[in-house]
């Protein structure tokens, strides 16, 4: 890939981030703010001696333990961010190609030296690799504020700060797990990504309704014509258990990415993404 193509792709991704900064930066920032406000409120309800006791307990709990072993504890704090990322991803994917046609900017982009494949790929890279970076950075900022606050509390209550330091290291290690989990989830749910993009490129109105309606219709047709339920079974088998794509230990990263189900999902998602790329030529 030459330098011009890399710059083109970088420009496309930058455009996506700038046009959807509310989804990628605003939404997680609001969630972080709400969590900090809720935590502050909860702390003000606790007696100071109990707070110091709790802080001592946490400090002893983390003291001397490997941050990589303790990192999964902090995955729980990331759950609201995961949910926000899922919702924002659905909103982004279902609207992105539809919005391009609605505001006719598709004509501008097609007049530029940028192919439909590059445009669609930039949207996938944005959701798979770029959006989680912003979420992780905001979680990091939240952890940083929380750690400064805990350190001040620790100093004022004569708590050993070494344990707090270990806790901070575990929180930092968890950021890697959070990012990789978001990445693996995107790969795991690539068929859904492709489906939403296909209908975003297809629908003249209400793309979400088309995506949902056709999914139900295809499921019924399969059952009616063939008497089988492979589509429903497949969707159920991929969405029912978050353990399939959330990563809680560093050892399982390779195994989660390179397994049959993930790779088959990428193939199926690829079919729908190719459909979305070709669908983009219909600009009306």
């Amino acid at each position: 890939m030459d330098k011009f193509a890399i710059l083109q792709f970088y420009g496309l991704i930058k455009r996506e981030v700038l046009e959807h900064r509310n989804l990628f930066i605003g939404a997680p920032a609001v969630v972080a703010l709400l969590l900090l406000v809720a935590t502050t409120w909860a702390v003000t309800q606790v007696d100071e001696s109990q707070l110091a006791e709790g802080l001592r307990y946490v400090s002893v709990l983390f003291d001397g333990l490997s941050p990589f072993d303790m990192a999964p504890f902090f995955m729980l704090l990331a759950v609201p961010f995961y949910l926000t990322l899922y919702v924002c991803s659905v909103i982004y994917l279902i609207n992105t190609l539809y919005q391009d046609r609605k505001e006719m900017s598709v004509l501008f982009w097609q007049s530029m030296p940028v192919s439909n494949l590059q445009t669609v790929l930039s949207k996938i890279v944005t959701i798979v690799l770029v959006a989680p970076i912003f979420y992780v950075l905001i979680i990091f900022a939240m952890y940083l504020i929380a750690m400064v606050w805990l350190t001040i509390l620790g100093i004022s209550n004569d708590v050993d700060l070494v344990g707090i330091g270990y806790m901070f290291l575990a929180a930092i290690a968890s950021l890697v797990l959070i990012y990789i989990s978001a990445f693996v989830t995107s790969l795991w749910l690539l068929p859904s990504v492709g489906w939403l993009l296909l209908f975003s490129a297809f629908a003249k109105k209400t793309p979400l309704l088309w995506a949902g309606g056709v999914f139900i219709l295809v499921g019924f047709l399969e059952d009616f014509i063939f008497g089988t339920q492979f589509l429903a079974n497949w969707v159920a088998s991929r969405t029912s258990d978050p353990n399939q794509y959330l990563i809680f230990e560093f050892q399982s990263i390779f195994e989660r990415i390179f397994n049959y189900d993930t790779l088959f999902g990428i193939v199926v998602g690829g079919i729908l993404i190719v459909g979305a790329v070709f669908m983009r030529r219909f600009t009306d």
Binding site: E222, T228, S237, V268, I271, F278, M279
Partner: protein, 75 residues
């Protein structure tokens, strides 16, 4: 063939969905994929997502018996 597929957005959508379903059904048949069981346990009734066939049969039996009861003219 290419012209036919790319004639309109509808033909392209149908072809994409046919390929998508074809791959899914073929893979499902080869691997024998089955739906995960959803069980809802509570003290009032039993629910299992695999038991829909049994539920349908029970309901048909109930309807048949009701029809025969009404036909008997005792109502």
């Amino acid at each position: 063939m290419k012209d036919l597929i790319l004639r309109s957005r509808y033909t392209l959508l149908v072809v994409t969905l046919i390929v998508y379903m074809g791959v899914l059904v073929a893979e499902g048949m080869i691997t024998g994929r089955e739906a995960r069981v959803i069980k809802f346990e509570n003290p009032y009734f039993d629910f299992s997502s695999t038991d829909f066939e049994g539920f349908r049969e029970r309901r048909n039996d109930d309807e048949d018996s009701r029809v025969s009861f009404e036909d008997s003219g005792d109502v």
